[in-house]
């Protein structure tokens, strides 16, 4: 079954920004994925938090641009969406393990139900929002690295 999945690009997004996550949103304006890195432990973390999850300290956090490439860790195909997504089913939600070792949950586009598999390679798809930021989604990565 190569059933098409809907891309959810038409959904009105109302996303609350937290102060401590502003560097993330700033990065998305240039279609750059900028996530938190803990200087003390050398590990990345996502979603953004006020402190390092590894040390609990604010001062250990810095922001680094990463490729956004990764592999599908898991996925689900919504057949009964939450209210804002109603009528767009089926659409997929993926959890992607980025190449820097964090999981990122997002929608996936340009992908059929038959293609979608745990372990498949994906790359970023930047969906523009009204406020100048972009929402990170993923798409299959079939090309050369």
């Amino acid at each position: 079954m190569s059933k098409a999945l809907n891309d959810t690009l038409g959904v009105k997004r109302a996303i609350k920004h937290f102060d401590f996550a502003e560097p993330y949103w700033e990065g998305t304006k240039q279609k750059k994925l900028v996530i938190q890195y803990c200087k003390a432990t050398g590990k990345y973390q996502h979603f953004p938090r006020p402190v390092s999850i590894f040390t609990g300290r604010r001062r250990d956090i810095e922001w680094r641009e990463v490729s956004g490439k990764g592999v599908v860790f898991s996925y689900t195909v919504a057949q009964r969406g939450t209210p804002a997504f109603r009528g767009l089913e089926p659409y997929a939600v993926v959890s992607v393990t980025l190449d820097v070792g964090v999981n990122f949950i997002a929608n996936i586009v340009n992908c059929t139900a038959a293609e979608l598999k745990v372990g498949m390679k994906v790359k970023p798809y930047w969906h523009p929002l009204d406020d100048g930021t972009h929402l990170l989604m993923f798409q299959p990565d079939n090309g050369p690295a």
Binding site: I53, F54, V77, Q79, R80, T82, T97, G119
Partner: protein
């Protein structure tokens, strides 16, 4: 995405790691439904028999989560009276149940950035609660796990050590979870088939009822103890954020 989507991600990951025979989740759904048929307090709408095929054919909500995986919203109430032994005696209450082991864990592996989502804090707090009770998992006479989605029961069978990680499907295949089976499970129907009227109080009330010997047609034979569990929310990219375990024995 909602709770079905969150559990869809957990289920699909489990399937990728270990393989998942969905018919065995169906077996749990049918067992719980059969218990609800014997529970006059269960939600009337849910007191209709189902088969494993009904489970498999129920419509997808967040693939691989089906309708019959999901807990249904329901109105209702549940209550327990808690008091000292002395007060119980004064009141002339003879059928009392004692909590002898309790543990909970919040933010399991919160200090890691990439976790195995098929594992939860139950693997730690389950052992703590059993240790406090002086029991091992093999001693458990009936099991009343929090069930918002059927897959949560499978994950708890593994986390509590009834079987090893990844062996839950085989464990379900090999055991009878009916009230008169070798491991009675959610004998009141669970939240999924009795109704999630007051969150996890259903499973707790049912365990107390069993230990009091007041479970009527679904009364278990072995009332020496019962293990009740709780789950709280799903964190981003993780398993549930809070895990709880409670061992009860009759006075």
């Amino acid at each position: 995405m909602g709770p079905p989507g969150a559990f869809g991600l957990l289920s699909r990951r489990y399937e990728a790691q270990y393989g998942l025979d969905y018919r065995m989740l169906g077996k749990l759904a049918v067992t719980q439904r059969n218990h609800a048929l014997l529970n006059e307090n269960a939600c009337e709408k849910l007191r209709v028999p189902i088969t494993i095929d009904d489970y498999m054919n129920s419509r997808m909500i967040a693939d691989p989560i089906r309708l019959l995986d999901c807990v249904m919203r329901a109105d209702g109430a549940a209550g327990l009276m808690m008091m000292s032994r002395k007060r119980a005696k004064q009141k002339g209450l003879s059928k009392t149940v004692i909590p002898i082991g309790y543990a909970e864990l919040t933010n399991f592996k919160g200090g890691e950035n990439l976790v195995d989502v098929t594992k939860s804090g139950h693997e730690i707090c389950g052992k703590k609660a059993l240790d406090a009770a002086g029991l091992t998992i093999k001693d458990i006479a009936s099991f009343h796990p929090y069930d918002d989605f059927i897959i949560a029961i499978l994950l708890q069978l593994e986390a509590f050590g009834f079987c090893k990680a990844g062996a839950g499907v085989q464990f379900i295949r090999d055991h009878d979870f009916s009230y008169n089976g070798d491991l009675p499970l959610n004998t009141g129907g669970g939240q999924i088939s009795a109704g999630q009227a007051a969150c996890s109080s259903h499973n707790l009330v049912e365990a107390v009822r069993q230990l009091q010997g007041e479970a009527g047609k679904r009364q278990v034979k072995d009332t020496s103890n019962a293990l009740v569990t709780g789950i709280g929310w799903i964190n981003y990219g993780r398993n549930w954020g809070s895990s709880a375990a409670l061992v009860l024995v009759p006075e």
